[in-house]
Subunit: 155 residues, 12 copies
């Protein structure tokens, strides 16, 4: 299809959502907000289209599946928006996958992890990402995408 | 079937077994006892029937599969007996899934984790469960189920 | 008396309650529940009678008196249900008394100590008990007694 | 002036830059980028105008002057973009001033503080801000402003 | 003036208030109370007059200004009531200034710092003060002054 | 007796002295001062009479006896002045007794515990008291009583 | 097939590769070398044939799949060469699976983990393996296999 | 009696045994040896008679009773042999009582506490004793007494 | 003036004194010596003249003023002698200012900070200075200046 | 001698054994095996001859003598097999000597140091070696030599 | 000689003195006492003769020489009195030599190491000795010898 | 010789160089500089002659030999310049020898140890030296000598 062909030439940004993020909207809305993941992905796609890029969104409760996703789609992409959920604080393997992908990565958290339990304060992925957007709800995803496109435009 | 229909009206309690618990009976019986997981599940079902509830038992070596299980079956259940195995000490994601499920949860460990290596002393799930039953072997599962039914009856 | 004589042949389980547990029912009921210690002891006695054992209940605010109790009654008993209250986290001497008694001991806590202040997370007695029942309210005492009788039956 | 009058009705967002940020553009550009603070402020003003708000920018090497600024301008403002520089990790007083101001605050760091020395990993201000934008260079300021306006619009 | 002359012979006690204390009454009254700093100073002056001493009150958001104050007024004074605010936990320089002043110092905190965040539990100034009055609200200032006068009378 | 009857209507404040405080005046006077405990109690009674309240003073070297005292006299009292001595740093049980009493409590230490050995810096009781008066010698008791009466008058 | 039959009588050694090792050769070759995993496996098979044993090689990005592999193939094998990748530092479950398998295990790391980030210095698996070969690149796998065959020959 | 009168002129050494030491001989003889406390006391008295001093032996499971003992008998004694049992590691109050007594004190432990659990490695009393005799069984008491008499002879 | 003109061609070394150093000579002479800051500055100027350089001396109790000084005078200077006083241990901002200045910096402390309280052992500035001269009193300043001139002559 | 002459052209690998390794075979054979050091050295020489290199073996109980050995023989060698014994965990000087020698070094431990006491888990030399071979008994030395020759062949 | 022959049949106890102990009597007598090492050795020999054993005394400032001594003389001895001096806290190698010797060892310290700097509180040798005698001056050596002979007589 | 005789009356300063410093000039010159130890010693002798003192220089890779040197030459000397090399961070024995010598000691490090690995940040000798000169290369030795002579002149 010509549309696909033309899209193929757009820069691609991966969007990876970690464990439990598929329950957004239902799960503890006081902490995580009431917007569903599907709606967040839809807004990301809309913003991507404004910014002239393509997003591929993926969610899994499996650390291994997230790593598979990065390995499979990383080589054809340039950026990564990643909310690792609970794996943020525990997964050296996901960190290694992000570092190994060579993607310009921005870590996103819906809630302010620094205002929660101490074990949520340290992110194993933070040092291998370019930056973080934390505590700004669903907007954080859009801001991260915006930043990635700006930074890619500079390089 | 009328039996299924009547069961559908019974309160449902999930039973989740984490990694390596499928090898119970063979693996290090001095620590974990010689009863198989199938036999433990059988006894849980028998006790459930006495207590007027239904149990759904599940084991996996995959953290993601355990989270999937809680997300899928949690909404139709009221309680959770969970022995997270080695994930007890390392999985923020499983903790978040338990907390997000809203189930009345009781954590079970076959062996006395406080008499073992220091890294087994801290449970990431403990704070989001109602309580723990530790070190009492296969009986611990039955006691946990009994407690859940008692507490649900009170609420 | 023939009753005493027949009782003497029943296995005996000690029940030790630590500091402040005599105020149960009045003190911070949101944390500890509204049942009095007398009522808990009464239910333990009832359950003991069902299980074919005898319980001796004791409470003190004095660490030394609890140790005296274990030394005096331990030799003629087989099991111990112990809720050390605030001594849980601070008393090496009580730990040594439990270990020295050789009793099959189960530690009980009414509230989920792992969901409270960090200094309540570590129990000095846990490694010398067979197991713990935590956070399940007054039911925890009955479950502990049940477990002890089951385990004694196995040995 | 009528312009001032109409501006007075716009929501006001404070922008506070901490120690050494006045040397941006010259100081260690490999870490902090080559854009000057004046240019960043100019872009913030431009973006504010697009978003329908007013910004008041302030920089000082003096912790006390930053607190004075927050106390003086806080009551008439609604949001705060703050890059506390080296005070991020050491100033309880600035934290208290931010918390006391009641402003919707977003913390910004030009560089990825989590990929630098360990003493830069912990922010004393993070728990009293709504969120953080870290490591995304001068863009981080604009994204923070954008987020604040979005969040204010929601409240 | 003859009044000033007579006052000059009264023992002098400095009162130093650290960052953010000028906002007392407005800022988080649930924590800090609803009395303003001006009112506290007024009560201190009244009590001083009863106790036969003179107080000089000073507030600043600037660590340096507080040190300047101690250096300037210390030599002519005998006691110090100090609420260092957020500097309590971070300022070695203020500690050194208090120690260097040789004044009989009492540290005051309006709120119970030991019931708040862990970083507020440790006071760098405590070891160089004679004592502390903590958590007793505005009364703490008056009690500190009273204690200083008593202790000076003894020496 | 009419005197007792009239006293019964006065607000009652308990005064609890922990281990070794009965040796005051003899033991290490360089640290603890040369006034005896009897004299301190006498001054407390005198001040109580001025303030319109009644004090009940108690000292014990036994943690359990101090808890017994709080349980017995707490329900008829409104405030508590407590110097827990060496139990300050080690007794969770005494802390629980204070918290459970619901009394408005002020912790007192004769010496500046923050200028002594590190293990004396942390008080387990501090978070459940309203405040502390530290390092001001026997005066600290009177100041604590004064503060309690002031705070009770406000409530 | 007669070849398979004869092989069945050879001692079997499992080779387990953890997350991200499937990208060897491409991913950060300065750290991990430029040889692919397929080539490493080929050399292991060649060396196994020289040493008179059979190897079964397996890689997965899923912790659960690695545990499944050990449970399925462990009972028919005698040794294990394992490079757990990022799971080295985080997986209690994989440790338990190795311990539970009863295999003579040697842990291998391509890079010198002790010259990298601190969180890579501690291996949860090390205490349940016979030994480690670290930092010697692809040769480490062959040396581990050689050591296992030597140690099995001794037992 | 003339004997008592002459004894009254002998230097007196207190011997204090902490919790659980009354069970010596029965309790875990592999750790603590098989000699009873009565026999140890008897040998101490015999040795005291050889060394020309008088010993007063006391055991209690109550921290408070041990402190009472030191306060009551300390003023008329010159030395102290103390095995604080489990209080070694937890009692600031007992430490304060020893320090306050001014006695030349030697701490004794039957077993080598440094070869046991980490929480037994640190003695709160050690810094206020002259020295320690550890791990040498019942002989340790006699050696401590011998050392005290030697040191008193020197002073 | 011709003198100023000729001086302008001499290499310039900044000398920055932190909080409380203006009280030298009076404040705790047992620790800091009895020489005043004015006298130290005079000796530095004399030595500078011998070494063929110019010094600009500055003291402030304000962290911000010290940073302002470094920003203002740094660009025209080549070396820095800095005694940060109490800011040594607490100021990331001053560290950043020193690092950002690009000056060859030597840190000086009058007293041996490693023989004092633990919180004085760690200098936040040390890693961004070329070296330290510690504990050698006023001579340390002259030695630091001498070292800077030697090192500048080498570069 | 022609043999010596031809050997001189072979690459040389140093073998350094630290304290207590001269007692191998006698000392705790359950931990360290029953082969003597002389036999290990003989096997190393035999393997060296197969691999086409020369080994120089040295043992000392003196840290200084091991450093002397590295300084004397390092310049003419290319590789180093080192088992530092107890110095592994304590000697910065030996680490510096290894780093300063520029040799391709492999650290060897006979026993699995990670399954022993915690103070044996950290090697000060590990970061300056290329890798480690741990827990594989005397075979570890041969494997290390083999690895060194392979890596030297690659460079 | 017949005397040597008869001595050869006496049990032998080694006495090892670590670094700086050769300066006893001169070095810091307030801490270590004024008796010389020669005099201590002489008293040990006299006591040995009373107890029916032989002592071999050795001092060195070299860790390696102390290990050499234990290796050379250990096999013909049965006990060890060791004061490791500064090596107490730092030498794993000396610990291993003591453990490897299989001697009944008692550690001696002249001063009370637990009342000195924190780095002196932990002895690496303590867990491999039977016990310790600490803080009792030169008498400690004699008491240790006495204990060893008593314990050897029991075995 | 008359020259020696006259020298004998000069104050003597010892210069002690620890392990690996004999390789200066060759070993890692980027860190330690390119001047040899012989040249540094020559410059120290020249400066000593200018300052009117005598230096005795000594280097060893053996901790014990350095202690022997201090014991032998300390009594006839007045000052000590010491660069303990790797022993800085590990040798309590060398610290004790320096403290025991009573010499006015200055610790020297060629490189800035505070800008290197964390284990190099803490010096065990620092608290027993008068001061430190760190990071100033070979000049540091001369400055230390100069400081010692100045301080000796003052005393």
């Amino acid at each position: 299809m010509s549309e696909a062909a033309s899209q193929a030439t757009l820069p691609r940004v991966l969007v990876a959502h970690g464990p439990n993020l598929n329950t957004l909207g239902n799960r503890e809305p006081a902490i995580y907000g009431s917007m569903t993941l599907a709606e967040i992905n839809r807004r990301l796609e809309a913003r991507a289209s404004e910014l002239g890029c393509e997003v591929i969104c993926f969610q899994s409760n499996h650390e291994g599946a997230l790593i598979d996703f990065l390995q499979e789609h990383g080589p054809a992409a340039r950026g990564l928006v990643i909310n690792p959920g609970g794996l943020t604080h525990t997964s050296v393997s996901l960190r290694d996958a992000v570092a190994g992908s060579g993607l310009l990565a921005v870590e996103v958290h819906l809630s302010n992890i620094h205002a929660r339990e101490p074990f949520r304060h340290r992110s194993l992925l933070a040092p291998v990402c370019r930056g973080q957007v934390i505590g700004l709800g669903w907007r954080g995803y859009l801001l991260a995408l915006e930043a990635i496109m700006g930074l890619l435009g500079e390089a």
